[in-house]
Symmetry: C2
Subunit: 337 residues, 2 copies
DNA sequence: CTGAAAGCGCTTACAG
DNA sequence: CTGAAAGCGCTTACAG
């Protein structure tokens, strides 16, 4: 039994103010200009204020068909990078008068179905999806108009990162230092973005005439403890003088592995990360890494999703984020053979 | 202009299935038992399924007055601890068929007003607030029935941690090792929980007949780089042989400060953290810290808030989380003077 | 400038 | 077992 005080509605405000319900509605929705006298408006607002009235959002949504809730689906909320994405997205959404429901796709195996349910059930207007798995996008197809994927499958997606120029910068930096044995530590998650990075990395090596052996590739997850073996496999090979990582968290794993393998960073082993999270500057030595404009990406995603929801037909221009190589102290010339 | 396909409603399903709208509603809400024949039910469900129908959540909410969205307000989403709280809360909420809107109170100065707006505007049913500032709770008073505060002001709050027994364990551990100069590194945020910890810490020292000097107290924020000075102030005092921290992130700051001050952990300086986040096991040496049952706390908060929303009158029993001292390798006997 | 009325898509008594 | 109807609290033509 929930009894509670009877809620304040536009009707009760109207009664208290001695006007009609429509007048209250006009005033509260800010559409009273030229339709309601200033006196009436001020009076209604005063009464509404005194009663602590707020228009019922569900009634408004039902009537107008306009929802102001978005979802943001990320692989793992606990990772600082996605915390930053959320904070920036929430802020942009708030400024556009929207709330954000956060979804952790690792934590909820049925997240695709849930997002579809929420969109079709008119609980959310649409959703941003960060870094889809290879098979997620086809399943999201039935609500494609309400979804914006970041770092996703389609080359034509509205918000993406320029993997190619980023990887170019990394490989050219290492090659320029004289490295010829460059290993790659992949993130062990089936994200299309990770596949793209590795594919292009190998292409770039070929273009530069550099060798790449299968044994120079390994994978690891983001749990720092579990990731060490994959990093060690690479760090123990003396031909490898530099390791490129899919993520700064992986680079932290390489630091541990290097310690175990007795290799000093950067003198004996160079390391490059990805994302430039706070950790990159906390590691010792500070990590050379590919910085990604987190805040901008989140803002663009919110704005472009909102545009798309306004009008799915009008193809909005897409935003491709440029990555910036932050050269710090984890890369140096390889030790003399 | 948003045109789009006309949405599927219970009415269109009814028409397609050749039954009344009420029958569709009964079937979809799972209340058809004994009121609709099995044949009709199956037929309606088949048609609804084919059309991809989902009941309009806003219409349902408006009609029933029952909302299934909760808010969770935390000080800083980027901190892994709050990521864990969110993940566990979201899971518990989802199992009770609720969605969670996450609010970063640091990111949104007007969060209190926003939560009040959302509750009164029937956008959310209620909110969990983690670690309020000293002056937040009075401002939340007008929606007290819809709010549950964790680690808050009131001793009678529904979900809290047992600060006293936790601090007891820490101080007794250090005193037992022979420490007499125990410093305290506070979190520089105006949270009531931090004040409580420090107050009780000093009381406990008094009870054990141990001295505490004002100079042995310092504060720091959680940005690892900015926090170092506060930690250094403590680490440079040789009378201090152990430092208790309000958070593991602060303990990480002490590790850096100790390196600068030339003090080895634990031989020359003991350190104790708070929360036992993943970082605690990544630090070298692994950190002795007070573990908090993150998942349980989040679950209890969701369940107790839901109970409270059901019936604000029925005072639910409260849950006080016990803290567990994880003794690892950052604490040892003090060096001989 | 103001108010009466329709209707958004549901749920839920009520009648049959 | 099934359907017609009221009503949740808004917004928005429409009439005056």
């Amino acid at each position: 039994m929930k009894t509670g005080p009877s809620p304040i509605t536009s009707n009760s405000v109207a009664k208290a103010a001695g006007v009609s319900q429509s007048t209250v509605s006009l005033v509260m929705s800010g559409k009273s200009a030229g339709r309601v006298s200033d006196n009436t408006r001020d009076h209604v607002m005063a009464v509404a204020d005194k009663l602590g009235y707020r228009p019922n959002a569900t009634a408004r949504m039902l009537r107008t068909g306009v929802l102001n809730i978005l979802a943001l689906a990320v692989p793992n909320v606990k990772q600082p990078f996605f915390g930053e994405i959320f904070v920036a997205a929430e802020k942009a959404a708030r400024q556009a008068d929207h709330a954000v429901v956060l979804i952790d796709t690792q934590n909820d195996p049925k997240w695709v179905e849930r997002i579809i349910d929420m969109v079709r059930g008119r609980m959310i207007a649409g959703s941003i999806v960060y870094a889809s798995d290879s098979d997620d996008e086809p399943r999201l197809a039935e609500i494609a108009d309400q979804v914006l994927v970041i770092e996703g499958q389609n080359s034509g997606s509205l918000v993406d990162i320029n993997v190619e120029s980023g990887v170019d910068a990394v490989v050219e930096h290492l090659a320029g230092l004289g490295h010829t044995g460059i290993g790659y530590l992949s993130a062990d998650y089936p994200k299309v973005t990770f596949q793209r990075r590795f594919d292009y990395f190998r292409k770039k090596l070929r273009d530069l005439g550099l060798e790449f052996r299968n044994a120079w590739h390994s994978g690891a997850t983001f749990e720092i403890e579990a990731s060490t073996p994959g990093a060690e496999k690479l760090a123990r090979q003396r031909e490898i003088t530099a390791i490129v990582c899919d993520d700064d968290l992986l680079a932290a794993g390489v630091y541990r592995a290097a310690r175990k393998a007795g290799r000093a960073i950067p003198d004996n082993l160079s390391v490059v990360g990805f994302n430039d999270i706070e950790l990159a500057r906390v590691l010792s030595p500070e990590l050379t890494t590919l910085a990604i404009p987190t805040e901008r990406i989140a803002q663009e995603a919110v704005h472009k999703l909102l545009e798309k929801l306004e009008d799915p037909a009008r193809a909005s221009s897409s935003y491709e984020a440029e990555l910036t190589l932050k050269i710090r102290f984890s890369t140096a010339r390889p030790a003399k053979g």
